[in-house]
Symmetry: C2
Subunit: 331 residues, 2 copies
């Protein structure tokens, strides 16, 4: 332990107060914070008498690797993925809380980088939203827990269960790029023993910046959530586990079938359907709706309780299960 803490800037050596003194100035509580970090709890405005809330854990190993992600990208992604869940309800994101458990030997610069990524993702994807509070804890595994809040501004939340036969199926965001980025990392940025390798990742990053960014620091169309709700979206969700798997959730919740248009899914419809972590928005709209940008029509709502088809042909279950899909010993 003493060796591990020998660096003067390890968080264990600095202690909680000193760490917070370096991290908190990099964050802003945002326009909805009536009281920010520093007391037992924060106070956040909820003008319409309700708030939207979603929470996610990101764990070193299954969810990210510091050999592949910069701390900045990690903070960015933690914000982006949660903001998209808020947007998928048709709400405007207002605030985040961020709890981090980290090994004592971690350099405080990692937490500073995470804070920078959180701040910049908020500024880019949800201007006015901020980090209102959080927690610091210790763990042998670097872990981020983000909870995000949103304001429905008087609108009815857009659920997964409202799709109706005849509706247009539409999507906003990338389709498959995040999965292609992850496949590149697994294929070309691991060392001989299968472990993530930072220098191989840096080389890959120079060759494939867009696909790696789609995986490591996605830019989901958060603003399009409010636009979709305002345009009358009947159902909506954040596509985190893959288009097919998440679409099936809409189909089951709504008691309908969904038929994808292969021509609209690009050169590799199977990858577009299977690829996880794009964090686009999948929504259904009444026929004839002028789709708000960047939504694109990718299919239609048909009869069939929970049934997915591609140009009318059944789509096998594709996607990702956080428990059964992960082997803790492999990359």
């Amino acid at each position: 332990m003493e060796d591990a803490l020998s660096a003067a800037t390890s968080i264990g050596r600095l202690g909680e107060d000193a760490v917070l003194a370096r991290v908190l100035p990099r964050l802003a509580p945002g326009e909805s914070a009536l009281l920010g970090a520093g007391d037992d709890a924060a106070v956040v405005a909820a003008a319409d008498g309700r708030f939207v809330v979603t929470t996610d854990l990101m764990v070193h190993g299954p969810d990210f690797r510091l050999a592949w992600s910069t701390p900045y990208e990690l903070g960015w992604k933690a914000a982006a993925t949660n903001l998209t869940d808020v947007a998928a309800m048709g709400a405007r994101p207002t605030a985040l809380t961020v709890a981090i458990a980290a090994p004592p030997e971690l350099d405080v610069a990692v937490l500073e980088g995470i804070a920078d990524g959180l701040r910049e993702a908020l500024a880019c994807l949800a201007p006015g939203a901020g980090v209102v509070g959080g927690d610091l804890s210790v763990s042998t595994v670097l872990t981020l827990a983000v909870t995000a809040f949103g304001d429905l501004e008087g609108r009815t939340p857009v659920l997964r269960s409202g799709a109706r036969v005849g509706d247009v199926l539409a999507h906003a965001g990338t389709r498959g790029d995040a999965a292609r980025g992850l496949a590149l990392l697994f294929g070309e940025a691991r060392d001989g023993s299968g472990e993530p390798d930072a220098s191989l990742a840096a080389e890959l990053r120079r060759r494939e910046p867009e696909l790696l960014a789609a995986q490591l620091a996605p830019r989901p169309p958060v603003f399009a959530g409010v636009a979709a709700a305002a345009a009358g979206a009947t159902a909506m969700l954040d596509v985190s586990d893959g288009l097919a798997r998440d679409a099936r959730r809409v189909a089951v919740a709504s008691g309908v079938g969904l038929d994808f248009d292969a021509a609209a899914l690009g050169a590799d419809p199977r990858l577009a359907l299977a690829g996880a972590e794009d964090h686009g928005l999948l929504a259904t709209f009444p026929p004839g709706t002028a789709l708000p940008a960047p939504f694109e029509r990718i299919g239609r709502v048909v009869d069939g309780h929970g049934r997915l088809t591609l140009d009318g042909e059944p789509v096998a279950a594709l996607g990702w299960d956080p428990y059964s899909g992960w082997d803790g010993r492999a990359g």
Copy 2:
């Protein structure tokens, strides 16, 4: 991995949907949930146009050990500690979100037990509040992230910064019991190599049920937070890191000194001041206030920016730092 997952009830073998199907029915979204778990986000009522929010991580190792805590106690404590942070603002707790990262080989019964503890702690400590949402993730280290919400019901939040010279210093809850319980566990429930031992803990539990319960499943006076605010508390906080350390936060934030009355702190004032994790409420009240039960007078607010005294004598800094206070290799 296959060996570890051979149990039919491991969460990795069951998969996320089956795990949720077993865990969610044990939880209720509560009276403030306008939309509970199952969509991208929950929707929670915030009638007074604001909400209080606090978040905490609990990590296997530094924060709990399954050899010492039952899953039920772990869920109970995760709820209790966060509810107290909400109460310390003078708010009525309304809802929790709970994110859990767990090893794939964990038996689903552990998550069921955690859910039972969460539910019962809510029913006991904050009737009407519920679990509105969450997340399941994988990690080699069992980790719980709880975020709690509260309703100020029109009241001004009670901050740490409002104590005034001449105010009464009061405390509600146990003082030192949780630390005594932890000391017993470290002293008498570890095996020859220093690792937590379940059978030694079970034996200890029979002999010292109250002190172990104070540490493993605390019953903080959550309801007293609203009562304190209604009685005019000028400052308040949750005592998690030890009475002295947390009192110093009030003293610094308020620009005052705090003088403890040794006779009011029981047989061992040093333990009462140092012992962490009791999760009582420390508050200051204008002189002459009829203290709401179970608050007891334990001192007074005096001149002195951030200075703590015990019967007028300086109190050394005592307490707990989550980074510098923990050695990952030791119990």
